[in-house]
């Protein structure tokens, strides 16, 4: 199993500006002083190996969309944020013109998590089957509404794929596309659901738009169980802890520190910080990633090291 990140930004897609690109180029040129590169491939190799990611790359700007790659021909995706558009292009190229079966698991129905669907090309092509799963009873209504007049020029009824909606029950195991899948209710305005995928004895958890208020020990421990022994947990780390429990309390998001603590208690191997605050630039996100690694280090005690990554559009992680 593998996770492929197509959209990692929270709340609103963002894009690098010309000024952002120039800053990166200037820093790269300064860092490269005195070096000669035979060709672009050599320059690219140096860039990837030696430059900090915040200089040589970017955490990306699409809103939530994460592919769960399992053996088999069917596609599994979490959330339909703007990252669903490039995923759709990738999937169609992989199918080489043949119809495909898609399984889309929704954390919730807020705009940043559904906005990619009207731009998901496979939805327009007859023969494709798209299953949309969620814990919400009004799944279909949300998808139809965003394509209704005056919000979008192409009504949902004009989509030619066979689109089916499935409301699933939290805490119950389902076998879908070769994976065992379970969802868990999370705290977020209008509710959200985390998803746990298990295949061949390995588990990955996608848990975004989830506030952890730390008020009740039972609630905390229920998330520890949901994350238990997962190889990878994708975690909503939008705010600092101080913000999450003070000025942004009840905004429905969590912090890097709570992610580390839950992952440590659950015996997780790899924690992926996700749903990045849209006002944060690459340097800030790199700092958060470094601070989170340090927090894990100083709180590790006798536990095995927990790997920490900040997600970026294009990241792939083996599960």
């Amino acid at each position: 199993m593998k996770l492929r990140f197509w959209g990692t930004r929270g709340s609103l897609p963002v894009a690098l500006t010309a000024a952002d690109v120039r800053v990166k180029l200037a820093r790269a040129l300064v860092a490269a002083q005195g070096r000669n590169f035979a060709d672009e491939a050599h320059a690219m190799a140096w860039l990837q190996a030696d430059l900090p990611f915040a200089v040589g790359g970017t955490y990306g700007g699409h809103s939530s969309c994460v592919q769960v790659v399992c053996p088999g021909e069917e596609f599994i995706v979490c959330d339909a944020g703007s990252g669903l558009r490039p995923f759709g292009g990738h999937a169609m190229a992989a199918r080489a013109g043949k119809p495909g079966v898609y399984h889309l698991f929704m954390s919730h129905l807020h705009w940043d998590h559904i906005m990619g669907f009207p731009f998901f090309t496979p939805a327009y092509i007859p023969g494709n089957i798209i299953n949309i799963y969620g814990g919400h009873a009004d799944l279909e209504h949300a998808f139809r509404r965003q394509q209704a007049v005056p919000s979008f020029p192409v009504d949902f009824d004009l989509l030619r794929a066979d689109i089916r909606f499935h409301t699933l029950e939290p805490g119950r195991d389902y076998d879908i596309a070769g994976c065992r899948v379970r969802c868990k209710l999370q705290m977020h305005a209008g509710d959200s659901y985390g998803w746990r995928f298990e295949h061949a004895g390995r588990a990955a958890v996608y848990s975004t738009d989830s506030e952890h208020k730390l008020e009740h020990l039972d609630t905390t421990l229920s998330f520890v169980e949901f994350f238990r022994d997962a190889k990878v947990v994708v975690f909503d780390a939008m705010y600092s802890l101080a913000d999450a429990i003070s000025v942004k309390e009840d905004w429905g998001h969590s912090s890097n520190v709570i992610g580390v603590e839950l992952a440590q208690l659950a015996g997780v191997e790899h924690l992926v910080l996700f749903h990045h605050e849209p006002v944060f630039g690459d340097e800030r996100l790199a700092t958060i990633e470094a601070e989170t690694r340090r927090f894990e280090e100083i709180t590790r005690n006798e536990r095995p090291a927990l790997k920490i990554s900040a997600a970026w559009d294009g990241l792939e992680i083996d599960v």
């Binding site: 020990l217 905390t220 003070s246 520190v257 709570i258 601070e291 989170t292 927090f295």
Partner: protein, 124 residues
């Protein structure tokens, strides 16, 4: 059981010690809350002396936030002193350093809060 406090004039110094995580945060809250009523404008200021605190988790930090939210509207002042290096690092990473005044040690905290408390501390 309330934390044992030492009074220096209009300042109470409360020692916070041990390992505060999700398992004991409710107890920590119960121990701290008895001091909320007198921590107000014209009442007592509080110094949380963390010299003996080895670890505090997000659940423990949430207790500090709850206490602060309760006393600040009434003009209550809460400061922190004598943090160990690791706890200070946790405060830095969680951005709690922006939420509480932090002092090197209790005498420095008293100096920032009340001349009367400084005199009382010097008098032993």
């Amino acid at each position: 059981m309330p934390l044992p406090a030492t009074r220096y004039a209009d300042v109470l110094v409360l020692p916070v010690s041990g390992h505060i995580d999700h398992l004991v945060s409710d107890t920590f809250l119960a121990d701290l809350m008895p001091y909320a009523e007198s921590c107000r404008s014209g009442g007592d200021a509080l110094v949380l002396d963390m010299a003996g605190l080895e670890y505090i988790s997000s659940a423990g930090l949430r207790v500090l936030m709850q206490f602060s939210k309760k006393v600040r509207p009434a003009g209550g002042r809460v400061v922190i002193a004598s943090m160990q290096k690791m706890v200070r690092e946790v405060f830095d990473i969680t951005k709690f350093t922006a939420l509480f005044p932090i002092y090197e040690n209790t005498p420095a905290a008293l100096a920032a809060l009340s001349p009367a408390a400084v005199r009382a501390h010097a008098a032993g």
